[in-house]
């Protein structure tokens, strides 16, 4: 399901999802019930969509601004498993409530601010896996999981993986907001359990604690497959935010050095330069 399907961006996302083979069954936009987008029926409310198509597994929320939280509350009225909030710049208090509401309901939240996730050849939520020009370059099916804090770097990493002769099991953008429904360490056990995934490549950056927490989790043995990681932002000054809400070093916490050290000690292959990804993939997975 896509909430906010009738806007220019909504139609674009719906097209992408259909093109990746996703079983998109319904769209929701209040006041637009009865319309169709790419032949997909549009409903006024989530409940109506649910009644016509239940069970629905997941929804993509594209409703911007203050409406984003309301859309999520509405989505929680039915029994979805995954909610992907594509919306960026969600006010922090709203984001905190969304995360807490999903936690209580036992629903997995991706985002806010996640551009999407794709399992090539199977389907997608959000932007990735299409158009064809990019799909053939960056989203070939295979055994490597991709996790990224940056939307653009999700496809860039996937591109590098595919150009190095490998393919993607699932690529996912966590989102770049300060508080996220699903963080890097929470995804690792899922990739550990996924039979199609041989290992994970990860793009991280300055700020926050999720790389350190991932390292902790690896040390506890909850993720044992190979992890190749790059942490961006070496040399950037403390106290200033760079592009993403979460990318800021504060009180000496969130530095590249700290994250690299923690991940290396936990056994991850941490790249000094992003261009080392190809050779490292070869070394780790071919030899």
């Amino acid at each position: 399901m896509v909430q906010g399907i009738t806007g220019r961006f909504g139609q674009f996302i719906a097209r992408n999802m259909l093109d990746t083979g996703t079983n998109l069954v319904a769209g929701v936009t209040p006041g637009r019930g009865g319309q169709k987008v790419w032949d997909i029926p549009v409903y006024d409310t989530v409940k109506e969509a649910w009644e016509a198509h239940a069970p629905i597994d997941s929804t993509v929320i594209l409703v911007p601004g203050p409406g984003a939280k309301e859309a999520l509350v509405e989505a929680l009225e039915v029994e979805l498993k995954i909610i992907l909030m594509e919306v960026e710049r969600v006010p922090l208090q709203d984001a905190l409530e969304c995360v807490a509401l999903c936690r209580r309901a036992g629903v997995r939240l991706i985002g806010p601010g996640s551009a999407g996730l794709v399992s090539p050849g199977k389907g997608s939520l959000g932007i990735f896996g299409s158009p064809e020009e990019l799909a053939t370059l960056a989203f070939q099916p295979g055994g490597i999981g991709v996790i990224s804090r940056s939307g653009g770097q999700t496809s860039t990493l996937a591109y590098n993986v595919c150009q190095s002769g490998f393919g993607i099991s699932t690529a996912i953008n966590l989102g770049s907001e300060q508080v996220l429904g699903t963080t890097f360490p929470e995804l690792l056990p899922l990739f550990e359990a996924d039979e199609e995934t041989e290992g994970v490549v990860y793009y991280g950056e300055i700020g926050g604690v999720m790389e350190e927490e991932a390292a902790e989790l690896m040390t506890e043995g909850k993720y044992t497959k190979p992890l190749i990681a790059y942490i961006a932002g070496r040399g950037l000054p403390e106290g200033m935010r760079f592009s993403h809400a979460s990318a800021i070093i504060q009180g000496g916490q969130g530095t590249v050095e700290g994250k690299v050290k923690a991940l290396r000690e936990a056994g991850a292959h941490v790249l000094d330069r992003p261009e080392d990804i190809g050779p490292t993939l070869q070394k780790v997975f071919k030899e």
């Binding site: 990224s148 591109y159 508080v179 070496r234 000054p237």
Partner: protein, 534 residues
Amino acid sequence: MARIFEYQGKQLLKRAGAKVPEGGVASNPEEAREITRKIGKGVAIKAQIWATGRLKAGGIKFASDPDEAFAMTKDILGSKIKGLVVKKVLVEERLDVLHEYYAGIVVNASMKIKAPVLVLSTEGGTKVEEVAARNPERVVKYIIDPIDGLAPADVDRILKEMGIEPEISIKINPMITALYTLFKEYDATNAEINPFVLTTEGHIYAADCHVSIDDNSVFRHPELGIKVPRDMEREPTQLEQLAWDHIEEGDYRGTGYFAQMITDFKEEENYVGFHGIGGGGSMLGAAALISRGIKIANYADTSGDPPASKIYKVIKAIFSQPLSAYAVVGACLANQEQWYHAFAIVKALREELADRSGFPVVILLAGNKEKEAIRIIEKGLKGLDLRMELYGRDHIYNSDFIGERVEILMKEYLNEEHLNKKATEIRMAMGGNKLEFATRSMKTTIDYDKCEPAKNNTSNPSCGFACVKADRLYDRGILRIEGNRPVLAVSEEAAHKMSNESLSWEYACNAVGMSAVAITIDFPGLEAYRKRLR
């Protein structure tokens, strides 16, 4: 997180029900004298800057009468404390302190928490992290459920656990509850009272207050007067303010982030104007340049599908700094069509670099419509004598190499003797025979005296109606052909709402050697800013 000043934080606390010392803000010594007279006893004069440790740095002084307050305020105002210029002081009654406590609420993003955490300490006045390391028994942390919030009963229980006596606890409770109300209602990411104090008279006061507001929520609180909602340890520069006002504010068409890394440019240094595409790609690019010892003047990031006019304005802001090179690093396989970046780069660089022979420009662009974008830049900048290198997706993760190219080209450029050439101004020719119209953030003039099909009244001109063709591809239906000339395809009113603004018409017309189309994008204040710089 945009910071607000101590005096603002205290006003919010007071409104939420906490006790704060009597006082007021002064922007000149006379006001400080008046406030002191009203208070009628000894006062503290506190510099309003975004820094802790003000007392040691000379940012807090104590005056015993109005005249002394006048003299001290005169000293503090305009002085630099911890690198920040003091523009205002808070003058407030001096308290007789018996004991100092600490209270803070901060959002914790850890996977285990993802909630605000209340931190209380029976020792205030110093950094709470230091206390926690030295005397952990003095510090208590409590996770606040974002849905249930923090009730006075919760606070009571926590204070009791800390061993605080009931007669004091009952006075502290409103302070903590007010702090949470402030945190929630004003969308703070972080709110701290360090210290709050018990006076000899047995009252609890907030003696200090630090609050940061979430960037994404600033729009909900215009009353706070936050000019640029963005994490910084200093106030925004004039150029950042201009960029915010005319690029970012109220315009959700993608990102056009601009922040200065250097605020004190030195003549003997050389700076690179930095322009990243995509959040992650920008960080990769900036780090690659910095790691080579290159000084980047600014950090800029255009991503999330901004229109060309917005990208153009970011580049204009970048070039409002003293630069010896310009680097575009799009280390990102962008989903958005890259030709909008190309049109913006062509227009801005034609204006900025027409007279700076040999200027180094290194561009890495990758993603959707990348080849087309690179061709547009190559063609559009033809004739300009630049040290320009263009790279595509083959170099997407070679940001180190891009950094090296910037370094080498800049060295070559600086070894040449060619500087101090006068900048030319680009002016539009104004004839009577023209079409003028506005779209969302730009004005377009088509001069029919320079337009071959209009001039010769031919339906088969050599330009092939390049502007209308470009419109179909990039702007989708703002222009059409009528009477052998390009005219508006929509009403003027409708055109005004069009927000795609690819800048393609001017480019296409120039590309066929005709220059009948001139686009101007308003950036109020930028010219005046640049004149002051010179």
